[in-house]
Amino acid sequence: MSGRVETAGRWGLVAQFPAPLGARFARNKLAVAGVSVVGLFLLFCFIGPLLYSTDQTHTDLTQVNLPPSGSHWLGTDAVGHDQLGRLMYGGQVSLLVGLTAGVLATVIGTLWGAVAGYAGGWVDAVMMRVVDAGIAIPALFILLVVSAITSPGTLGLIVILGLVSWLVPSRLVRAETLTLKNRDYVLTLRATGGTHGRAIRRHILPNSVSTIVVAATFQIADAILLVAYVSYLGLGVQPPKTDWGGMLSAGLTAAYSGRWWLIVPPGLAIILVVCAFNAIGDGLRDAFDVKGRG
């Protein structure tokens, strides 16, 4: 029932060591599908416009509100923008902001969590109370407040998203650091005169990589979703630039009157990409055998 292999006793030689990382990841079909999806979308959004160029800045009132057809594969919106092109164009922002913000959040969180975990004591206690406070404040609310105060551009958006999302990775990295700090090889190093710096640089950080990578993948997924929320609520990038969330917001009322092509493609795009990143994160976590988000 458990599937646990009992080849050797508790400490004996591992009769065969587990298959290499790549093979383990490849066995998770969902994760592999995720990688393909991400790859396809990256191509679609960044290479696509080179093959299928449309005008996304000027309006064309002769082409307003057209359903999908031969000349506009996904129709047009209320100001005449071609929707397929807009999907690519918006995707660039969604993906760029999501990827960068996710990585930024992971970097900040890793630094914070590693310091807290390694230092221990009251330093750890204070740093973690700050994290608890940050988690207690709902991200969406803070985002709205901050966006209301300052209308951020793309860069500002990335920074704000990163500042709001670093909390979860920090807790994961802190837990990992605590575990690693007490590993025998670190204790041995310190007992024979090794410095804290060496312990962190040579042992703790390299062994945390798997946790950090998994956390980063989930953060990217979350960031793309969060950007979509912020833009939907009208406080993300401003027109004529847009992202998928903004497209949803713009197409909202139109959808009620039956113009489904304005919301279904961007909605599906968000779902597919976020799903893909979550699947990749899940697959990485299983392949690395890391404990993290369920």
Binding site: M1, S2, G3, R4, V5, E6, T7, A8, G9, R10, W11, G12, L13, V14, A15, Q16, F17, P18, A19, R24, R183, D184, Y185, L187, T188, L189, R190, A191, T192, G193, G194, T195, R198, R202, H203, P206, N207
Partner: protein, 542 residues
């Protein structure tokens, strides 16, 4: 009729990297009222045989052959039939009492559950039966204890609860898989006494799986020795233990550290101590881990720190290493007060110490090659050393610990436990330290491997002249390798002195009981020791 009949049992596991045959053509039998010990090291397949007997093999295992328990076939039997068998005709006791019980259910309820699985009784009747069983297994105040949660009981008490669950429905066969391995030696002796008494009282057949030859001598009537999935020797316990025929059995028996019952001490040196603990006390929260502990280790000497779990021996070693700061008292290393040393001076001081810890898996950073692991102290303390010289030093020390040169570029994952501990030892010795601190260096290894590692340490000590602080729960190991012994109990020193004198003529009751509880792999001798121990009286039901 045999209570357990195994004919040509084969078990194969399907894993990530292919099929692994864990058990090959094993045949054995257990008669009612008899105890058969199944002995082997890790990977021998003995636990797999035990699980197969109960039909508890994991999902990725395929069994072939015949296993018959009291006339019922187990291999290939439907789950419903097996559930009827388990807990009634055949019961099992496992190794880890800590994890064996549901942490959220009271122990009385867990015992009652086994009763109600097989008998149609009311809840209150089952609860009464549970209390009764607790009494039978020697738990004091059974009515009160029945409503305790597992975490409120000690390891020995938890194992007694598991045993209570096993005998609840008077099984004809009891399968015990390393039932005392995770317990302290005095508790082990008591649990074995209990099992023996229960089996004798009810004529139960026992299949005892263990790697400990002393336990075999203490308990078994017959022995079967397993190696790599096959049985290599069977016979009565006197025959196999005193007159072993198979080469493997012989090597196994010779590798077991035996408690000697006579011997003299070598004279001690009078040079100033390499490490000295003076009146050290350590507290972790409200727990007093060490209380007023004083001892020292002199150059070239090996001092053994012995004690049961919770005695503070590991803590004492960590204090000596400067990993734990004492709340009171002082620690001096090479004549300097460790508590006051800081920065570069402290690091220089610590460079004279080598460390080997218990867990072979966690001792080495799996991301570094063997050579890199061993070279780390060189990088920390001899920054200016050229890489060619470093490589030479690493090769030199690997040879010292009898490891082949080719292993230098492998990763720790590719090594066996014994090899990993020797790499750990190489790393500890690469700077030619004056002190080696070894905390249970071989406890996690198989018996035959233990001997190699310990012999290497002893040989290198003679050659290189370092002092050694050896922490161990195994009195036989300490007796063989240490010149002085410090017996710890609940954070305090019970007694200390030259090894032979202290262990063979102990002054305190506790030490006497500790030694009496260690089983010797000689059945005739062990029977005598058991009677002597009974005369001593046991401690409170642990």
């Amino acid at each position: 009729m045999n209570i357990l009949e195994i004919a040509d049992l084969g078990v194969t596991f399907s894993t990530d990297t292919g099929d692994v045959p864990a058990v090959r053509e094993v045949s054995l039998h257990v008669r009612p009222g008899e105890t058969l010990a199944l002995v082997g090291e890790s990977g021998s397949g003995k636990s797999t045989v035990a699980l197969a007997t109960m039909g508890l093999l994991p999902g990725n295992a395929r069994a072939s052959g015949r296993v018959t328990v009291d006339g019922t076939d187990v291999v290939g039997a439907p789950e419903a039939a097996l559930a009827r068998l388990r807990g009634r005709t055949a019961s099992m006791v496992f190794q880890e009492p800590a994890a064996a019980l549901d942490p959220l259910t009271r122990v009385g309820s867990q015992i009652a559950e086994v009763v109600r699985n097989h008998r149609k009784v009311s809840r209150s009747e089952a609860a009464r039966a549970a209390v009764d069983l607790l009494r039978r297994v020697g738990i004091p105040e059974p009515e009160r204890r029945a409503s305790a949660f597992p975490f409120q009981l000690s390891g020995g008490q938890r194992q007694r609860v598991v045993i209570a669950m096993a005998i609840a429905n008077s099984p004809a066969l009891l399968v015990a898989d390393e039932p005392t391995t995770a317990l302290d030696v005095t508790v082990q002796a008591e649990i074995l006494d209990l099992l023996r008494r229960l089996a004798a009282d009810s004529g139960t057949g026992v299949l005892l799986v263990t790697h400990n030859m002393g336990v075999v001598a203490d308990f078994a009537d017959r022995v079967a020795v397993m190696l790599r999935g096959e049985i290599v020797e069977t016979g009565s316990v006197e025959d196999v233990l005193l007159r072993p025929r198979h080469e493997y059995t012989r090597s196994l028996l010779s590798a077991v550290p035996r408690l000697r019952l006579s011997g003299t001490d070598a004279p001690a040196t009078q040079e100033p101590p390499v490490v000295r603990l003076s009146d050290v006390s350590v507290r972790f929260g409200r727990v007093r881990a060490l209380d007023g502990v004083s001892f020292d280790v002199r150059p070239g000497d090996t001092v053994g720190l012995v004690g049961e779990s919770g005695s503070g021996k590991s803590t004492a070693a960590r204090v000596a290493l400067g990993l734990v700061a004492p709340a009171a008292g002082s620690v001096s290393l090479f004549g300097t007060d460790l508590g006051r040393a800081r920065g570069r001076a402290r690091r220089a001081l610590l460079s004279g110490v080598g460390v080997v810890l218990q867990d072979p898996v966690a001792s080495l950073d799996a991301r570094m090659s063997v050579a890199e692991c061993v070279a780390e102290p060189l990088r920390v303390h001899r920054r200016g050393m050229a890489s060619a010289e470093r490589r030479a030093r690493v090769a030199e020390v690997l040879e010292l610990v009898r490891l082949p040169k080719e292993l230098a570029n492998r990763g720790p994952r590719e090594l066996s436990g014994g090899q990993r501990q020797r790499v750990s030892l190489a790393r500890a010795l690469v700077l030619r330290p004056r002190l080696l601190v070894a905390d249970e260096p071989t406890s996690a290894l198989d018996v035959s491997v233990q001997r190699t590692v310990l012999e290497v340490i002893a040989e290198l000590q003679r050659e290189l002249g370092f002092a050694c602080l050896l922490v161990s729960h195994d009195l036989a190991v300490v007796q063989e390798f240490a010149r002085r012994v410090v017996v710890l109990r609940d954070g305090r020193i019970e007694e200390q002195g030259p090894t032979m004198a202290t262990l063979l003529h102990p002054e305190t009751e506790y030490t006497r009981r500790l030694i009496a509880a260690v089983p010797v792999p000689d059945p005739v001798l062990q029977r005598q020791r058991r009677e002597n121990r009974a005369a001593l009286g046991t401690g409170a039901g642990a």
